[in-house]
Amino acid sequence: MKLTPHSRFGAVALTGALALTLAACSSGSSAEPGATSGAGDAPAELSGSLAGAGASSQEKAVAGWIAGFNDTYPDVAVSYDAVGSGGGREQFLAGAVQFAGSDAALKDDELEAATERCEGGEALELPLYISPIAVVYNLPDVDTEHLQLSAATIAKIFNREITTWDDAAIAAENPDVTLPSTGIIPVNRSDESGTTENFTEYLEAASDGAWPHEASGDWPLSGGQSGQGTQGVIDTVSGAKGAIGYADASRAGDLGTVALKVGEEYVPFSAEAAAKVVDASPRAEGATDKRLVVELDRTTTEAGAYPLVLISYSIACSTYADAADADNVKAYLTYVASAAGQDRAADPGVAGSAPISDDLRTEVQAAIDSITAA
């Protein structure tokens, strides 16, 4: 059913395909990282529909990207279905959508399936959405911009070993702040989420054993306050003084946010700090020049890096059966990776994500340029 519009627009798409290949070549050869030129030069002749599905973490950014992409290519109907990372990968591998968004990289068995889905080609995994996760707290009377906490202290707070705000461990890290004796109410996500997975991963790796649980998308403790989805967490934290939780940084609103201890200094979240940790982190085992999977270094001591981030990958094929699909995906991802696309998502009013660095963009663009039709 999804193919009907393609056949109808086939002729147009073919012209578009040629145009785009030329455009992509020129931008590739000029080796300029600003892939905006690719989007800017290409005539708006692409059409058809482009369906994506996957992580809800990306949803807001994707909404912004689709709007920006449609400024240049108004005839491509892009949709993104926030069905969750697992569902997105499943639908992508089943061929139901052309691209997927996922908070986790493809697993081994999925890679095999991806080869089949991609006509013998390879799957592309592009870290195009980097989002800092903020540790938010509701202490309206505490007079400081950011409370300073180490991963070990945060782990103890969430493991309910530290139960009041004036605990010695917190006071030691915030010598200049008068802390109230309010009880701490830790708040977690009640649904399974990439945010929880990244947060527990950070606690496990960086807390020197203070976090006794394994990293998981599902919160390991029971018997505490929790919220359904990001908004549920924000509502719950806002609902009681002394509450602390973790959420997508762009949604922190009026709540206080924690500066994390990195090396010997405390770093509050910011787009630059989040991008920095991605650059400082090594590639995961098995990563290729197409699958740019990052093994986040949670224990980094790099100055000014904020290690509590979530990376959501855009997953696509290197080879598509349908030429129109290949062109649409290519044009869309090129826009997403471009400075314009990344800046749009980084707007705090859109998704507040961290724009990828120019170095990473060069690599991403090279991978995107390899997309072809079978």
Binding site: M1, K60, A63, A67, A77, V83, Q91, T230, Q231, D347
Partner: protein, 354 residues
């Protein structure tokens, strides 16, 4: 001084019948209790509307019961207490209703408007305040319409079977199971539609029709019940008169029974639609949400109002305003259906049939 005058005869049982508190006394007690509550709370420095009402209610019950017991005797006091509690229960039920309606209207009114009703969410992102529910409105109407198209014929025919044909164990069994079906949780209906379609069409299949089937499952028993009641209201004399003229049974049903009860049936169907139009859980599982209008019931996700409201709330920020406005639209839609249903039953009631 007055107490002496009243307590003395209260000892005589026979006075019970005529020694009463004046009819305005409850109002006086209520006003006194509220004033006392206000003063007490002012003295304590903790004045709030809720506090005054709660403390006032307690004081009212205490003061009026005690006075009544002294003046009128225990039986009248119990009667007064019962009246207070029963009235109180009703007023208590108004608290959620009034607060909910006020909340939805005040929070929803800011975003609500013609533009909100006529735009969709294509190209709306971030903190943009534009965007609306046109796509969700279309989706809700389509899905509900499809559900009605499935459930009305089935419900109508089943009701006809139960009233006109059915007897014996089959009819009894169907009656019982229709009642049981009324109690199927909406989320189970959603799971059923999901299981049915994903088993047949493959695991990634999502379409408006899935939601329609789930809603139809919820709607059918309601339709059957109301149509059945309407058919039973048709006087048997009408049927017999028709038979006496040699009209076959099926034609009697179509031309006489259904025609007589048409208004009631339409009302029943509209009320059934009003019941399912706000269902969220089954649609959340099956139909999902998209940003643009999808008019194809058989392919792809569709936006619907309840799911839109829920997901916009989850998005936070300006989404919460849209969620309230969508909730307001939904309530207005349900009210409209209820109102039209009642008007239909009033205006088109069969003339002289009852």
């Amino acid at each position: 001084m007055a107490a002496d005058a009243t307590t003395a005869p209260a000892g005589l049982l026979t006075d019970d019948a005529y020694r009463r508190l004046p009819s305005w006394s409850p109002w006086a007690f209520a006003a006194g209790a509220l004033a006392a509550a206000l003063l007490v709370l002012l003295a304590l420095g903790a004045v709030s509307t809720a506090g005054v009402v709660v403390l006032g209610a307690v004081l009212f019950v205490l003061s009026s019961s005690i006075t009544s017991r002294v003046v009128e005797g225990p039986r009248r006091a119990a009667d007064r207490l019962a009246t207070t509690l029963v009235t109180g229960a009703f007023l208590l039920a108004l608290v959620p209703l009034v607060s909910l309606v006020l909340l939805v209207v005040t929070r929803g009114a800011s975003s609500f408007g013609w533009a909100f009703l006529t735009t969709d969410m294509v190209g709306v992102f971030g903190e943009m305040t534009s965007g609306g529910i046109a796509h969700a409105l279309v989706g809700t109407l389509l899905v509900t319409l499809a559900a009605a198209l499935i459930s009305v014929p089935v419900g109508l025919l089943t009701a006809i079977y139960l009233v006109e044909y059915g007897r014996g164990p089959l009819a009894r069994g169907i009656t019982l199971l229709v009642d049981v079906m009324t109690g199927i949780p909406s989320i189970v209906a959603g799971l059923f539609a999901f299981a049915l379609f994903t088993l047949i069409m493959g695991p990634a299949y999502r379409a408006g029709i899935m939601g329609a089937v789930a809603l139809a499952l919820l709607m059918t028993p309601v339709v059957i019940r109301s149509v059945e009641e309407m058919l039973r209201l048709v006087p048997n004399e009408l049927r017999e008169a028709s038979y006496a003229l040699g009209v076959p049974k099926w034609l009697t049903i179509v031309k006489v029974v259904l025609r007589t009860s048409a208004a009631g049936i339409v009302t029943g169907v509209m009320l059934a639609v009003a019941r399912v139009i706000g269902e969220t859980a089954p649609l959340l599982l099956t139909v999902g949400l998209v940003t643009q209008t999808n008019t194809d019931l058989f392919d792809g996700r569709m936006a619907t109002l309840p799911v839109f409201a829920y997901r916009q709330y989850e998005q936070g920020g300006t989404g919460i305003d849209r969620a309230w406005a969508a909730a307001l639209t939904l309530i207005l839609l349900v009210m409209l259906l209820n109102l039209v249903a009642r008007l239909v039953s009033r205006w088109f009631a069969p003339k002289g049939a009852r």
